[in-house]
Amino acid sequence: MPGRTMSSPYVIDGDSDEALVDRARRGDFVAFEKLFERHRAMVYRYAYQMAPRRDDAEDVVQEVFVRAYQNLHRYRDEAKFTTWLLRIATNLGTDRARMAQRRQNLEQQEAAGALTWMTEGVTEDPVHNLESDRRVAALRKALAALPVHHRNVIVLRDLEEREYPEIAEILGCTIGGAKLRVLRARRALRDRVAPLLEEDAR
C-alpha cells in the first residue's frame, strides 16, 4: 500500500483520471480524494440501484473506494478508471444485493417511502404525474425483484447508459455476451413489469 501525503498543491481539476491514479499510487492521497469526489456520484448511483437503501449504497461506495485505493497497483491503464471502479462495484454490489434480497420486503417499503419525493412528475398535469409515479414505483418494484445478474446489466445499460464494450469489460465477457445478457434481462423485466402495470392501471 502506498504511503500517504495529505497535501498536494499540484492536483488540479483538469487532471485526467490516469494522472491522478499515477499520483495516488505514489502516495499522494489528495489525488485519490480528487478521484473519489469525481466518481463518487456515479458509483453511488449504481450502488443505489442495486440496493435501494441509502445506508447500504453508501457502504458499498465506501468499500469500493477503499478497495480501489488498496489495489491501485493492480489498475492497468488500458481500461478506463470508471470501468475499473464499476467492476469493483459490480462484484461488491452483486454480493450485497444477494444478501439484501432476503430483506426485500422491508427494503421495498423503505425505498417506496423514500422515493415519494424523488418521483416528481415531469409535467404540470397532476393526473399524468400520478400515473407516471405509479409506473415508476411499479418499475422499481419489478427491478428490485429481478435476479441480481439481470438487475446488474439493466442498471449498467439502461440507467447508466454504458456502451456494450464497457459493459463487457465490467462483466468480464465478450461484447456479444454482454448484448445477450442485456436482452435477456430486458425480456425478464418486460415480463415482470407487465402485470404490475396492468394492476396499477385498474
Partner: protein
C-alpha cells in the same frame, strides 16, 4: 409472437438495432402496441436514475482506509508464515546434511578394489592424475649400481593396475604371557577333553610353540623378614646346573 420476434422488438425499442436493421424493420398493429409499451418502459427506467444525494464524505473514506490498514497490520500473524518456513528450513538442512547423499563429481573415475582371496586388489590409476614417470634400469644403476632386472623387478607403467599381493593380515608377534604350572596343567587337560569330544576330524592347528614350564629354584638362604627359604623362578633351564 415468436421469441425471436419479441427480442427484435425489444432491441428496436431500446435502440440497439443498426440503421440498416431499423430501416428494414416493419411492424404490424400488435407489434406497434408492444413497441409503445416498451418505449414507455425505457422512458420510465430513465426516471429511476434519479437517486438521493450521496452523503459519503472524503473523511469517512479516509478513516475507513486508515482503519483497514490498522486492522490488516494487527491481523498480520508472522508466526503463521514463520512456522512453515522453519519447517521447510529444517527439512532442507536434514536432506542437505545426510551422509549418503554426498554429491559425487560427475567425471570422477571409480577406484576398483577386488577381493584378496579370489583376486588381488586392483587399484586402477586415474588417468588425470599426475604421476611420476616409471623407474627404469638406468635410474637404479645411477643410484645404487645394480639393475632392476638383476633384482627380478620390472618397470611399472602408470596405466597398469597395481596389484597388491595379499590381503591376509599376519598376526602380530605378541610376547607370550608367563604361565604357571597349574595353568599349563589345566590347559593341557582341557585340550585333551576337547579332542576326545570331537566326532569329526579337524585340521591340525597352526604350529604354536609349547609353553615353557618355569623352573623354581629354592636357595638355601633364608629371608630376613619371613625366615623362609628364598625361591627364584627362571624361564629356562639352560643356565641352571642341577645338583651343583
Amino acid at each position: 409472437m415468436k421469441d425471436k420476434r419479441k427480442d427484435l422488438l425489444i432491441a428496436y425499442a431500446f435502440g440497439d438495432l443498426t440503421e440498416e436493421e431499423m430501416a428494414a424493420f416493419e411492424a404490424n398493429d400488435a407489434e406497434r402496441a408492444e413497441l409503445d409499451r416498451l418505449a414507455r418502459l425505457r422512458g420510465d427506467l430513465k426516471h429511476l436514475n434519479s437517486v438521493p444525494e450521496c452523503q459519503l464524505s472524503v473523511e469517512r473514506v479516509r478513516d475507513a482506509i486508515l482503519q483497514r490498514e490498522i486492522r490488516q497490520r494487527r491481523d498480520w500473524k508472522p508466526w503463521i508464515v514463520a512456522m512453515p518456513a522453519a519447517a521447510a528450513l529444517a527439512l532442507l538442512a536434514f536432506f542437505a546434511t545426510r551422509p549418503g547423499d554426498a554429491p559425487v563429481a560427475p567425471n570422477a573415475n571409480p577406484i576398483v578394489v577386488e577381493s584378496a582371496e579370489q583376486k588381488p586388489f586392483v587399484v586402477r590409476s586415474e588417468p588425470d592424475l599426475v604421476t611420476s614417470p616409471p623407474i627404469t634400469d638406468a635410474d637404479v644403476v645411477q643410484l645404487v649400481g645394480i639393475t632392476l632386472s638383476a633384482l627380478g623387478a620390472r618397470p611399472v607403467s602408470t596405466d597398469e593396475p597395481v596389484r597388491v599381493a595379499s590381503l591376509e593380515r599376519k598376526s602380530p608377534t605378541v610376547p607370550r604371557r608367563r604361565t604357571t604350572p597349574t595353568a599349563v596343567a589345566i590347559r593341557s587337560e582341557s585340550k585333551k577333553e576337547s579332542t576326545h569330544d570331537r566326532t569329526t576330524p579337524v585340521a591340525a592347528p597352526t604350529t604354536q610353540p609349547q609353553p615353557i614350564e618355569p623352573i623354581v629354584m629354592i636357595s638355601n638362604d633364608e629371608d630376613k623378614t619371613t625366615g623362609a627359604r628364598r625361591a627364584n623362578e627362571v624361564e629356562t633351564s639352560n643356565d641352571v646346573v642341577i645338583g651343583g
